[in-house]
Amino acid sequence: MIRTKPKQPLFALAAATLVLTSVIAASAQQKTPPAPGAARPLNLPKITERKLSNGLTVVLAPLPNVPKVTTILTFRAAGTADDREKHPGIAQIAAGVANEGTDTRTSKQIKEELRSIGGSLGLGSDADSTSISASALSEFSTRMFALLSDVAQHASFPEAELKLAKENTIQRIHAGRADPGFLVGERFQKAVFGNHPYAFVVPDEKSINALSREDLKGFVATYYVPNIAHLIVVGDIDPEKTFAEIEKAFGSWKSGATPAEDNPPVPTRAKRQIYFVNRPGSIQSAIYIGNVSIPRKDKDYFSLRTADTILGGSFYSRLTRNIREDKGYTYSPFTASNTQATSGSYVAGAFVRNEVTGPTLLEIFYELDRMRVLPVTDEELKAAKEYSNGNFSIELASQSGLAGRINTIYTYNLSKDFISDFRAKIDALTPGDIEKAAAKYFDTYHAAIVIVGDWEKVKDQVTPFGEVTIYDAEGNVISK
């Protein structure tokens, strides 16, 4: 079924005039795209892995494009079910306050040291892991490692800093509840993951206020340990010299008990359901449609990734061509495959004016279903492969891109050859692989449909698509 129709310029005469004026100049104009030149060497980074005696895995990759160094230190555990139940949000708050003071440095001293070395240092946590990302001018790498090591080992959670961080986190979440992008993402996680830890987005006020300094110190003592961590170092480095600096900074760090594996059951969805977050006054509907997908390590990773590229993960994707370039419903439609340690989600989204909320739902379902039941063309698949391979090279050309990619390999325990094998895996995919992945994971029959908008304005367009539960911005159910 082809829905798009060929276009005729309305002002044919005017358009013809323009073409005419450019004919003379255009006589030398090449009419067909130039052929590619000979393939250039890939220059894949030389990656070496070492281990400290305390168990810290160190991965070094020189990329001397600028005199800077970029690092990621990841703790491959962020909380067990027990911690999550007792202290929701503890990993996030710990990450937020760990760089606000150590046994020997105040918050201000940390920030001033960073300024002196042209550096940055930030922590982030999700349900699987906590990472500390840091960078600096390479001439100051020793000082950067010293600071990183201090924050990782000796975060002191000063009472005043913790109190301020708690207040500010509560207010920041309150401010965020005015933003449709935050609300649609939060409700989507909850809708898709149900009781799985991945459903968690931000803690509530009560949980935040309940956290004590002792809780946080206990948390980092358990989880910020070298034997479940890896340190990725990319940039203007000499691996031998840099490794010696790392040994000096991290060598005396004591290893800890390995936290218990936490493998919560993966949720499944029983039916298609609409989750509507009412935001009166909205002039757009923020729409996410999706479902549970796969863990990062799943064998379908490459086929789902490529199906995503074709459907909505690239600019010249089916979804963009349809609801942006043909219908003009939206500015930035997208699809994304988010995969983590134990599960993942698939999402198709668009922010559209109220008037086209229903038509957009229809088109997203149409595009998802089309992927499920019809094979992609050879041309589409070839383009998607080129897109993936080329952009993979572009990603690896930046320090943060390369560090992030290596971090993923170690966080999810992927093949150490992931980078060198990438092209071969992508190139081996067939239209059949894509169709199979789409049929399995673009499950529209059991999809979660999340919409943030003005219920009174769009309800008539929404109700035909399924049973609706309405929430307010705080997450309370208003009505079923």
Binding site: K7, P9, L10, A15, L18, V19, S22, A25, A26, A28, Q29, Q30, K31, P33, P34, P36, G37, R40, L42, N43, P64, N65, K68, S107, K111, E112, L114, R115, S116, G118, S120, L137, S138, Q171, H174, A175, R177, A178, G281, I283, Q284, F315, Y316, R321, E325, D326, G328, T330, Y331, F351, V352, R353, K382, A383, E386, N389, G390, N391, S393, I394
Partner: protein, 463 residues
């Protein structure tokens, strides 16, 4: 080994060690290769060859930003940018994206105060694809009413998603500029009023293209894993025959000096928390005060160690955050007209914008009185250098900076000496800049509070 030889050898070791020690504390300078020339049709061409990774960025920068869009057509420069992806003589609607992505690349365009750019990053053996695509639309943009209507819809949704349906509605840009500037070219809303975006006609598009999208009003930059001589030939082949056009008239961007503080009160239907934005007019980029002012911006609000951040967020706990900088969209080098330093903060309920501004003023007064320490100044310079290196790390970032230096200064070779004037700044100059520019009569303040809060205040009789 003779004694002499041994001594010499020791000396050498000592010298080498000294040199090594020196090199570890000395800043590593930038060394970006630059080839710069102009085609007879006036197109400025910059090529920067490096082989770090098998990628290349092809970028075209046009000397037209939203300051010069016509009156009654706010948002037009940006709408036009979208039209550049709607096809040309040999490339159908939106196929620009297809050609780039099917060749392993990515692409985008952006409209700014003083330029509009188009760029694609590709595997380096596809460089000619990028050149062909850019030349085809520079020479022969295909403009149809249907595509214009389509992109008016798309841009309208872009404005809704980024401005109108958002809390605060980008007031720290749109409203601040509308109030801080008096010359319409500088003050108007560059994202555009929805009605004006939708009023644009196909003749507007045609005339804008003819006036501004000519080779003599543009820079073409190629940065990455290419051979300079090969690329020169490709540039010649695809661009040399595109005819020049009469130079567009120079826009009047003159801004009369502000003499009185401007204060604006706003309410917000969507926000949950109050926020404020301030803007101070900056010295021109060629003013001797500019480098000191740029470093002063770092010292006041460059990062979490900065003076305003420490005072507002940490010491006084008045605001949740602090953001802003010297150029709302970019950096010190990628604009050319009048500019304000902007600051935005979400402040805490129970406090007022006046309290926040009073603390900001307190920080400035202290700085004017006591100056900055040598360490604080040295750190600001280090931070500045580090930011510049971040900027040139990617082939796109490098192409961006080279393009702007060619577009605004006709001298992309400056890229390797950009830090010089900033490195020379003294503590006295910082102090003098604070005294001269960070005064109330040079600023605009917008206080934006949630609507409900204002109603409550009204019920109590207001302040």
């Amino acid at each position: 080994m003779s004694k002499l030889a041994m001594q010499l050898s020791r000396l050498l070791v000592a010298l080498v060690t000294a040199a090594l020690a020196l090199s570890t504390i000395q800043a590593k300078p930038l060394n970006v290769p630059v080839v710069y020339y102009k085609l007879p049709n006036g197109l400025k061409v910059v090529i920067s060859e490096d082989h770090v990774a098998p990628v290349v960025t092809v970028a075209v920068y046009y000397n037209v930003g939203f300051r010069v869009e016509p009156k009654g057509r706010t948002g037009f420069a940006h709408l036009f940018e979208h039209m550049m992806f709607q096809g040309s003589a040999n490339v159908k609607k939106f196929e620009h994206a297809k050609f780039v992505e099917a060749n392993g690349g990515n692409l985008n365009g952006h409209t700014d105060f003083d330029y509009t750019n188009y760029f694609e990053t590709l595997p380096s053996n596809r460089v000619e694809m990028g050149l062909w695509l850019e030349s085809d639309r520079m020479r022969s943009l295909d403009i149809s009413a249907e595509n214009l209507k389509n992109q008016q819809n798309v841009v309208s949704e872009e404005i809704r998603v980024n401005v109108l349906n958002q809390p605060y509605q980008l007031f720290e840009w749109i409203d601040l500029w509308e109030n801080a500037f008096t010359n319409w070219n500088n003050s108007h809303n560059g994202y555009g009023d929805l009605a004006e975006v939708n009023a644009a006609t196909i003749d507007d598009v045609r005339s804008f293209f003819k006036t501004y999208y000519a080779p003599n009003n543009a820079v073409l930059t190629i940065a990455g894993d290419v051979d300079v001589n090969e690329v020169k030939q490709m540039v010649e082949k695809h661009f040399a025959r595109i005819p020049a056009q009469p130079s567009p008239p120079a826009p009047n961007l003159a801004e009369p000096p502000q003499t009185k503080e401007k204060k604006v009160a706003q309410t917000d239907k969507l926000a949950n928390m109050p926020a404020l934005a301030t803007g101070y007019h900056l010295p021109a980029q060629n003013s001797p005060d500019f480098p000191a002012m740029a470093l002063l911006v770092q010292i006041l609000q460059g990062d979490d160690s900065s003076r305003w951040f420490q005072r507002l967020v940490k010491d006084k706990e008045l605001t949740l955050d602090l953001s802003g900088g010297l150029n709302y969209f970019g950096n010190e080098f990628d604009y050319s007209g009048p500019m304000i330093m902007t600051t935005r903060a979400t402040y805490k309920p129970g406090h007022t914008a006046d309290e926040v501004v009073k603390e900001m003023d307190g920080v400035v007064a202290e700085l004017v009185q006591k100056g900055v320490s040598d360490k604080e100044l040295a750190d600001a310079k280090v931070r500045f250098r580090s930011s510049l290196y971040n900027q040139v790390e990617s082939s796109f970032g490098k192409a961006h900076l080279l393009s702007c230096l060619a577009l605004f200064r006709d001298d992309p070779n400056q890229i390797n000496h950009l830090l010089d004037p900033f490195d020379k700044v003294t503590a006295d100059q910082i102090k003098a800049a604070a005294r001269k520019y960070l005064v109330a009569e040079n600023r605009t303040v917008i206080d934006r509070v949630p609507q409900a809060k204002e109603q409550k205040a009204d019920a109590k009789g207001g302040n």
